[in-house]
Amino acid sequence: MKENKQIFINVDTVSEFEFGDVRENAVENGRLIKEAFKGSFDIVVKKGYCAGKCVVFANCDGLCNSQKIADNAIRPLLSYNGIMPEGNELEFICDNIICGTEQQKQTSLDTAVDMLLRGTLLIFVEGFNQCIIFGVQQIPERSIDEPDTDVQEFGSREGFTENLKTNLTLVRKRLCTPNFTIEMKEAGVQSKTRVLVCYMKGRVNKDVLQKVNERLNNINMDTVLGSGYLQKALDTKRLTLFSMVGQTERPDTFAAKICEGKIGIIIDGTPFALIVPRLFIENFQTLDDYINRPFYATFMRGVRLLSFLISVFLPGVFVSVGLFHQEMLPDDMLYNIVVMESNTLFTLTLEALIIHFVYETVREAGLRMPKSIGHAVSIVGALVIGDAAVTAGLIGAPMLIVVAMTAICSLVSSHLYQPIAVLRIVFILIGGATGLYGIMIGAAVLVISLASMTDYGVPFLAPITPFEKNLMRDSLVRISMEKLGKNIFDINSVRE
């Protein structure tokens, strides 16, 4: 019998290169590093002499500033001809020869190599079982741009980048308080991705913090290359379409959530930060709501909620009314719909499914294809869906209007797009099979399952149910900032 081929690598069995401690022989340290990274031309190991002592430098080219290395470390060291205090050379080098604020000593060569791969310069001095880690990082990054998601009309134009330090700086400058606390962790056996757990001391709930730390510590992944890798680990374990972990690309939103007693997680290499716990109602809130007038903010939140309901239920309801409950419509309207739909080939259910499939395909293509051909696909998509399909009698014009409206509404709350896309297909099928009654049973299942979601002790549907009067002032309704200012939205007040 043919043996099953193992296609997955067990993370636990992946062997790691172990360096041990820093050797007293500086050249030996350099040799070990060279050997470990044999073939990697970006790892540079260089030998020199400082006041007669052998000094070995190691750095990762491309991750550090070469000019800074030359000016602040190598040149001062190699050109130093003075006397160094016997037995205290390392201290002397740090304090008097090399220039830079970010420097530390390290006895573990493993940690030193980790730091090397994060863009620091390692300096080994002959006769010392410690090395100097010198901060000269210059990791390539893009400039701070306006985020592509989470677009705000009046808010800040700054968005997170892929650089951890930049992202932290963007948050830190908004939260100038010693209560803002950051804990660093690592995730991923191979990637060793740095993860920052951020919270506001005094506002965060200790149990929630402990649970987040536990979940992060228990992550057993080979690589962590994006926020999605951690999102699953931090999310509710219940099988559901919705997530109780928020994502944002905006430092201002991130800072605001931290102030509400939530925990933010910044991950190196991704502009998307995570926030836990997240409430359902937050999908309909934006930072603009706090800049706009309260009545308008409240109105817009209502519009967003209505858009969500339309995008989930409208196609299903249209199909069910068309197939089972025609009596609900006025005669003239019903006549028009019947005339237009009678020329089509498929049943309403099939029509709805086909057109949604085409829409999702065009959307996915628009997302993945090179931008240069985006317009061509848009034109083809618009022509195929918008005109040719109706003219050819494949779909009816009323269905086209319903799908167009649904598509627009589904983009209003972009964080909910994934559940919306799945749910509307489910409701089309249910509506086509059982009419409004089936849709209502489906809706009941949806609401009950949402109501059952509780993570970190916070019910997903709070503060609507369980009802929390104080928090309702900034939920679907947003009262004036003067009144809100006195009562900060505190996530812990809805914990059970």
């Binding site: 409004l436 009654y437 089936g438 049973i441 809706a443 009950i448 109501a451 149910t465």
Partner: protein, 363 residues
């Protein structure tokens, strides 16, 4: 399993939906008339009777709840409690059958006349069974949202019906005599059999239960008065000829583009059914879990779903069987056993058997 606690208003919102589902699909007894203005007294009697008949439950609550125990599902191996739990499970098992059989009759005679709704009803059973596994917390939280939807939709239909109300349809009061009103009121009060299920969830309800209960009874009564007012006002004597008079009244409602709102309204009634049956399923599962602690909840719920589905298929096959589910002694038994007999039996037991108090764990 850790039980999540729900607030009293959340719990009673589920009971409100449950009792509304009974009135929406109210089948009046052949001996009674719904078209008489005297019918409006029935909800008043409902409030009074619901409050009086809740006294045994209140006494049990006072005796048991003060000890902060798990109510009937106390960690007590006494055979008596298992019997009581078994009877509760049986009563609510029949109550599920009755509720769903009535919905089956309603769906196959009014919603999709002539259509066999068995598959739909079995789907409903499975959905409710699975929802019950999500726990009381989920049902109660969702209940608040459903209550808001149902109240708004029903209020909207009532406003739409306002123009169709004919005051001539209201007959003089006491036309049929006090005895008739008394009998009809008692029979009507049997719609509120859900008050018996409070016993099964006492430890999981936090807050002022008595206050919430009284508000529930009053709000339910007021809703019934309004529904009956619009049914009598729009249909008059015609209501007596209808199997589901409330539904017939709703078919008259129209608003703007929506020429018939009955489909929309009845679809919303489905929410009430889902909540009611899920709550009953949860009650049964809790009782059976207490009796058979070694069997997992999922298996118990699965077996319950299977048995209910089989029995509903059996009932659905013959119209006579539907009528048996509305058989007066059965309806009375479904009210009297959980609301009066079992709580009284518990009180007597708790008072007489003193060692019970020593076995109560302090959780």
């Amino acid at each position: 399993m850790t039980k999540s606690r729900v607030s009293a208003p959340q719990f009673f919102s589920v009971l409100y939906l449950s009792v509304l589902s009974s009135i929406f699909m109210y089948i009046s007894s052949p001996k009674t008339s719904i078209s008489q203005t005297d019918s409006l007294f029935r909800p008043v009697a409902f409030i009074v009777i619901s409050v009086i008949f809740a006294i045994p439950t209140y006494l049990v609550m006072k005796t048991v709840k003060e000890k902060a125990t798990s109510g009937l599902r106390v960690n007590n191996k006494r055979f008596f409690f298992k019997i009581i739990s078994g009877i509760y499970a049986l009563v609510y098992f029949v109550a599920i059958l009755r509720a769903l059989a009535r919905f089956d009759l309603f769906a196959s005679s009014e919603l999709f006349p002539g259509t066999d709704m068995t598959v739909f009803i079995i789907t409903l059973v499975i959905v409710c069974g699975l929802m019950s596994l999500l726990g009381l917390g989920a049902l109660a939280r969702a209940g608040v949202i459903f209550t808001a939807i149902v109240v708004v939709a029903t209020g909207f239909v009532m406003l739409s019906l306002f123009k169709d109300v004919d005051l001539l349809n209201f007959t003089p009061l006491m036309e049929q005599g006090f005895g008739r009103i008394f009998y009809d009121s008692l029979y009507f009060a049997l719609q509120g059999a859900e008050i018996g299920i409070i016993m099964l969830f006492l430890p999981e309800i936090k807050g002022r239960i008595v206050k919430a209960y009284i508000i529930w009874a009053i709000l339910s009564g007021i809703t019934f008065i309004l529904i009956l007012f619009f049914t009598i006002g729009t249909l008059g004597a015609f209501a007596d000829t209808q199997l589901f008079p409330t539904y017939t009244a709703v078919t008259l409602a129209e608003f703007g583009l929506l020429e018939r709102m009955d489909a929309l309204e009845t679809a919303i009634w489905v929410l009430c059914i889902v909540e009611k049956v899920s709550l009953y399923f949860l009650g049964i599962t809790n009782c059976l879990e207490f009796i058979l602690p070694k069997i997992s909840r999922r298996i118990i719920a699965g077996v319950c779903m299977g048995v209910v589905s089989l029995m509903l298929s059996f009932i659905s096959a013959d119209l006579e069987r539907f009528y048996f589910m509305s058989y007066e002694p059965l309806v009375i038994a479904l009210y009297v056993i959980p609301v009066l007999i079992l709580p009284i039996a518990l009180i007597i037991y708790l008072k007489k058997v003193k060692p019970y108090a020593e076995n109560i764990p302090n959780n």
